[in-house]
């Protein structure tokens, strides 16, 4: 134990990580844990969604959870292993980049259960939760096309990975299905994980898209997306948020948010292990399972016209019924529709 404490101190000092392990620990108490990805627990987006789920679990059950925030690549495995070694019953790993580390650590600790969000690892003690981002993105694409006055809409992605291509591909299909002659400008913020945490680049990308005529911009880029929404709001244009409901960030300038219920995934993982209903394997949460969707609240109600509401509801119903098919980029690694 002493060794761990010393190792933890050293790691915290050298890496300037502020990591808290709240609550007294004993071998017998139920100890869930969560590891957030780059961007941090309060990124107002993806990680924050997972945090909300964990916080809700704490509020409902009174059981405290431990958490870590990744600030560099090497920490993924390190933190997962430390939590597993400290007898965490279930560890939620947030983000696709965790997959290789989860695979490695899950093999070493077969008794610890892992829930991986946004990635797939096939092991008997790993639950992989993925979302049908293309379906949610399709819906906000429909809204973007109808809200745009210039006929040009933008997309800013974070890191250039298949997951984000899934967003842009669904978005494009939604836009084109609504207005076949509309133009979609898309950019990625980078090809390294820092692309999730660079709002300045986000706002530069948004400005360059607005210079080219875009007046609605969908940001799927973690913290980088905040810069996009900021730039759009500053210019009097509209942004579209992602993962969590971001409508409240710039009321009147966020058309809607593509919601990914990361909170539900995190909550279910904790609760499932507590109740003994947790199952390993692969889950895909789409529109039908209400794993994805679009946000409507008092902040954007005035931006959504009845016509838009009708169009997006119709699209959602058809996707759920299976009569409208949205191509998933990941199926063929290309966006042909």
């Amino acid at each position: 134990m002493n060794f761990f404490r010393r190792a933890a101190c050293a790691a915290a000092l050298t890496l300037s990580v502020v990591a808290a392990a709240p609550g007294a620990e004993s071998e017998k108490t139920f100890a869930p844990a969560i590891v957030f990805d780059m961007g941090g627990r309060f990124d107002k987006s993806f990680n924050e969604g997972a945090n909300q789920g964990a916080e809700r679990f704490r509020a409902d059950t009174g059981v405290n959870f431990r958490w870590f925030e990744i600030t560099n690549e090497a920490q993924r495995e390190q933190f997962l292993r430390r939590l597993a070694a400290r007898n965490a019953k279930v560890i939620v790993a947030v983000g696709f980049s965790m997959a290789p580390s989860v695979e490695k650590v899950a093999r070493e600790y077969p008794d610890v259960r892992f829930t991986l969000i946004d990635g797939v690892v096939d092991l008997p003690n790993v639950q992989s939760v993925e979302f049908a981002e293309h379906e949610g993105s399709y819906l906000v694409g429909v809204l973007a096309a109808l809200a745009s006055k210039t006929g040009t809409v933008g997309f800013v992605g974070g890191m250039d990975i298949p997951l984000i291509r899934r967003f842009v591909c669904g978005y494009e299909q939604g836009v084109k299905a609504t207005k076949p002659d509309a133009k979609v400008i898309s950019n990625m913020a980078g090809s390294t994980p820092t692309a999730w945490a660079d709002p300045t680049r986000g706002s530069e990308l948004a400005k360059s898209q607005m210079d080219r005529g875009a007046d609605v911009i969908f940001a799927a880029a973690g913290q980088t997306g905040l810069g996009v929404l900021q730039a759009a709001a500053d210019a009097g244009k509209q942004g579209i948020g992602v993962d969590s409901n971001q409508n409240h960030l710039f009321p009147g300038h966020v058309l809607t948010s593509m919601i990914k219920r990361v909170d539900v995934a995190a909550y279910n993982a904790f609760k499932g292990v507590m109740d003994g209903t947790w199952k390993p394997g692969h889950q895909r949460l789409g529109l039908t399972e209400e794993g994805v969707g679009w946000a409507l609240d008092e902040n954007n109600r005035s931006l959504i016209t009845p016509e838009m509401l009708a169009a997006v509801t119709k699209a959602a119903d058809e996707i759920k019924a299976g009569t409208r098919h949205v191509v998933n980029y990941s199926d063929k690694d290309s966006c042909v529709y």
């Binding site: 502020v18 309060f42 090809s191 300045t200 360059s208 210079d211």
Partner: protein
């Protein structure tokens, strides 16, 4: 034709926005290094200043107070650097690196402790940031082809710090080459013994230079978090201090060439966001990775061969020891 002209204007506009923090930091480096004090700590001072500006602006709602706090924080670090390198004749590179590490850790810790948002500060409202200024006649002249749109798109519509940074280039050149202080400053970087013989205090001059560098880094930091951005994020300088040093070297420790080097780096960065997904004739779509590496490739290529030899001030990096 008009389309590509507007594309160019938008590129230049973005270039000015991106060049500003580099330019301010590079000028800071100019003063410090011309006085013989190597400043690797530009990055750390900017980061600390960016944090101080955002935290103060978030607490008080005033961008002006944020700027003052930024300058204050940066000056403190500069003083520390001076104390280590000038008073105690420590190694200047080590002290600079120490500043960078300190700033990186301290901003993250304080940010987490005060705002509990993972090291970020809250998003700043428009009133707590430096807004964009529309220069006189910008709207009237917009209609004039070529020059009018250049004026309204590129020259007008930046925040005050952008104009300040640009104005600082001739001011720096004037101070360094046309004033007594400038002459002494340059002399102390080349041959401190001669300055000492003339009866002028070497430490006093070097402290002044280091403090000017602190002031300028304060401006650069405030620009990042309260003008260009709207809040602080962990490690938001992301290597801009080092890029500024590279610009200073590329500009051979002279103000105007340094400005050009900063503009070049900024243009490469601006180009990077615009070249994505563009299909080049004969090459197909340019890979994102290649475009991302563009500013760095450019630096390496230019520094490696095209610019000729860059000779630093003779006494830079060496603490002055009076012979007894």
């Amino acid at each position: 034709m008009m389309d590509s002209y507007f594309w160019l204007l938008s590129l230049l506009d973005s270039m000015l926005r991106l060049a500003t923090p580099l330019l301010l930091a590079a000028l800071a480096g100019f003063f410090s290094e011309r006085a013989g004090v190597v400043d690797i700590g530009l990055e750390g001072k900017m980061l600390m200043a960016a944090f101080a500006a955002a935290a103060t602006a978030a607490a008080t709602g005033s961008a002006g107070l944020g700027l003052l706090a930024a300058i204050g924080a940066s000056l403190l670090l500069a003083l520390l650097h001076g104390f280590a390198c000038i008073t105690h004749r420590g190694n200047q590179v080590v002290s600079g690196v120490a500043l960078n590490i300190t700033a990186m850790g301290l901003t993250a810790v304080l940010g987490n402790a005060w705002f509990e948002m993972g090291g970020r500060t809250p998003n700043l409202p428009a009133t707590a940031r430096f807004g964009e200024l529309t220069l006189p006649l910008a709207e009237t002249l917009r209609g004039i082809p070529v020059l009018g749109s250049f004026y309204s798109e590129v020259v007008s519509g930046h925040n005050i710090l952008v104009y300040l940074a640009l104005a600082l280039v001739p001011l720096t050149a004037w101070v360094a080459y046309r004033t007594r202080f400038g002459l002494r400053l340059r002399a102390v970087g080349e041959n401190p013994a001669a300055v000492d013989t003339a009866g002028i205090s070497v430490p006093a001059l070097r402290y002044q230079a280091v403090l000017i560098a602190g002031l300028l880094c304060g401006l650069a930091g405030a620009y990042l978090s309260t003008a260009q951005g709207a809040g602080f994020q962990t490690n938001m300088t992301a290597g801009k201090g080092y890029l500024a040093l590279a610009a200073l070297i590329l500009g051979k420790w002279k103000p105007v060439p340094t400005l050009l080097a900063c503009l070049l780096f900024a243009a490469a960065d601006a180009l990077q966001t615009r070249l994505q997904g563009v299909v080049m004739p004969g090459l197909g779509e340019v890979p994102v990775q290649l475009i991302e590496a563009l500013p760095y490739l450019l630096t390496v290529l230019l520094l490696a061969g095209f610019m000729g030899k860059a000779i630093p001030p003779k006494a830079s990096g060496r603490p002055y020891v009076k012979e007894r």
